[in-house]
Point group: C3
Chain length 273, copies 3
């Protein structure tokens, strides 16, 4: 963790360099579907991922990790217990943790667990518009399983209020991504629609966000993660004739990304709310 | 669901168009190994996959889904409980569900669970010859772990009797795939032997079948799924020097498949039994 | 299982041919992250993988399998119970089993389980230097999550003493891999640093080792697995601009590997300890 990071492309490139240099150990409690691509994205980025979920060891593992990701994609009670233990230990030790409330709104169980976890002081919450709106208790949040039915623009005000209430930086991803701490709004233009046709790419973005959270302040880390990951995705999509090669191309793009490629494929703008 | 669908290539192309247009939400309770490729095949096809397995939420999720897939590849008691709950809810709500009895016959536990689930009114059962023969209680079903030791031809009569008894359409996949409701036998010639050298491709076919079951009657849906998926696989195998690129190429082929490509790489014939 | 196999490239090629001919059924109890690549590597190699973990069926499955792999990457108590049952059954039936003590040393829970399993007579133990040093109870074993902080050279003497104590052949992988039964030391030069940037490739190597253990004596099997898998990895890395394509390229290389390619991309040397 450091003091203030500038929220622009140069600042994002600086945080990427810091991830590569420090190789943070990122503790992931994430869903089965996204584990492999999440680990591969983190390795390609230069971080050191581990997936550890047993209640018997999560606190010990969080203690040696640089940051923590909790993703509720494939929930079950034993895993929820581990998520609580890990989140509390992270906060206790001053380590940042990221919440990905996958499918929040799809079932009452899922919505309740997401809301409970959002109350455990995550540094960053990252979701699509339907998930963030549902997590904030907004009426008519919609959602179709784990896919959003709302645009990210529609969720900006709600994201800001969730940020205010939870103390977390909230990132709403969509065609344009928005990040806010309730005072500043960052818009990130990167990524490609093809990314919605390959499973776990949103989850792997949240894992990437946890890697950046290990080396920067939450608002700058979330913005940099979106810019870097989205630029890599946009670049990767150009090499693809369909979604099949996208995960591999995305990892290669993350591995090879530099400031020039970041500037080509991402835009960051900020304004006060 | 609709009334009758023609069981030929044109009918299959029409069902594919309907999947892409309706983007059915497919609820998967499937094995760990095949989750990623199953989700990716469904996304490439144009469906909306979700993997949800906790007993606390499976019924709620089945209620919002268009169809359900249950695959017993990596069984455990808690998951079996969820499978029972989800299957019953699907039947109660008139939603089609597909059973993939992976490795049926390999252990007594697996065989018993598969038989129990087959009694819960699946719309379609999809397996290899050894699995279907074992599920039907045929003597000498064989099987080697999760791979078949019998040909699909050898299982036709047994598949028809299983269809009669269970009320499900039964699909037996192999070099040639056979689908039957006990009255009609559909033979689908598509696919490529290389597909047996990449894990989870049979499981992802079952997930694809669940997507088609959301938009067509069981016999037509199963036949169309086999034709579409197998044509994509045959096309994909042509671009591969080994099995490594096959999952990605298969997704790209599913993504780009049209009537002309389907006609090139699949044959469907039907006869009365 | 056979009597002595020569520990050199020709002997390794002969064991590879035997894997392809016998297609051993390899029972995997492994971590969620590595399941897909492990199954795909085994299929590409010519073996028949299955992932089965329920206590209700693991003993029955081990009974029909040719060999067993136990990998503790994503531990939980129910899985540990299954690991114990499967390992004991394998030993009882004289079937070789391979232990991959992933992340041993990272948490007390993990270290204790790894040590307990190492006491259940594995034929082969395969890990990185930090894992092997931690498993052997060496002071200052280090490790960063699941990644090693020690070189494989530093672990040779400790590996030999672990081999002596456990009765297992111990393989320590790193820039150069070392295999020992406490009397002979085999050094295998193969692989590529890019392999550390793609998740589960060490785990899939352990699965590959289990396939070779089904057809050869432990010291020869472990050495051949390292040579074959590492040669495939080295060849695959040449075709990659980053880690993204590495899993697919590795599978293609395993699928196409022959004696000439093995001789190009692997070196094996042996000496007495």
């Amino acid at each position: 963790m450091t003091t203030d990071n500038p929220i622009d492309l140069a600042g994002s490139a600086a945080l990427l360099a810091r991830v590569r240099q420090q190789q943070p150990l990122v503790h992931n409690i994430t869903n089965y579907v996204a584990m492999t691509i999440s680990a591969n994205a983190l390795l390609a980025l230069g971080a050191s991922p581990a997936m550890v979920h047993a209640a018997q060891e999560v606190e010990d593992f969080t203690s040696i990790a640089s940051s923590l990701l909790i993703n509720i994609g494939t929930l079950s009670p034993a895993w929820v217990d581990a998520m609580r233990l890990a989140a509390r230990r992270a906060v206790q030790l001053g380590k940042p943790w990221v919440l990905d409330p996958v499918g929040c709104g799809a079932t009452p169980y899922r919505t309740a667990i997401a809301a409970e976890l959002a109350g455990l002081k995550p540094a960053i919450i990252r979701g699509n518009a339907s998930e963030i709106m549902s997590l904030a208790g907004a009426a008519g949040a919609g959602g179709k399983g784990v896919d959003s039915t709302a645009s990210s623009e529609a969720a900006i005000a709600i994201a800001a209020s969730l940020a205010e209430r939870s103390g977390a930086v909230v990132a709403v991803t969509g065609a344009i991504d928005y990040v806010t701490d309730a005072r500043t709004l960052v818009a990130v233009d990167s990524g490609d629609p093809l990314m919605t046709r390959s499973t776990g790419l949103g989850c792997a973005l949240s894992a990437t966000t946890a890697a950046f959270a290990a080396v920067g302040t939450p608002l700058a880390a979330a913005s940099a993660a979106l810019a870097v990951y989205g630029a890599a995705g946009r670049s990767a999509a150009r090499s693809c004739k369909g979604p099949g090669q996208l995960p591999a191309q995305l990892c290669d793009a993350l591995y090879g990304l530099d400031g020039a490629l970041l500037a080509r494929d991402a835009r960051i703008t900020t304004r006060k709310l």
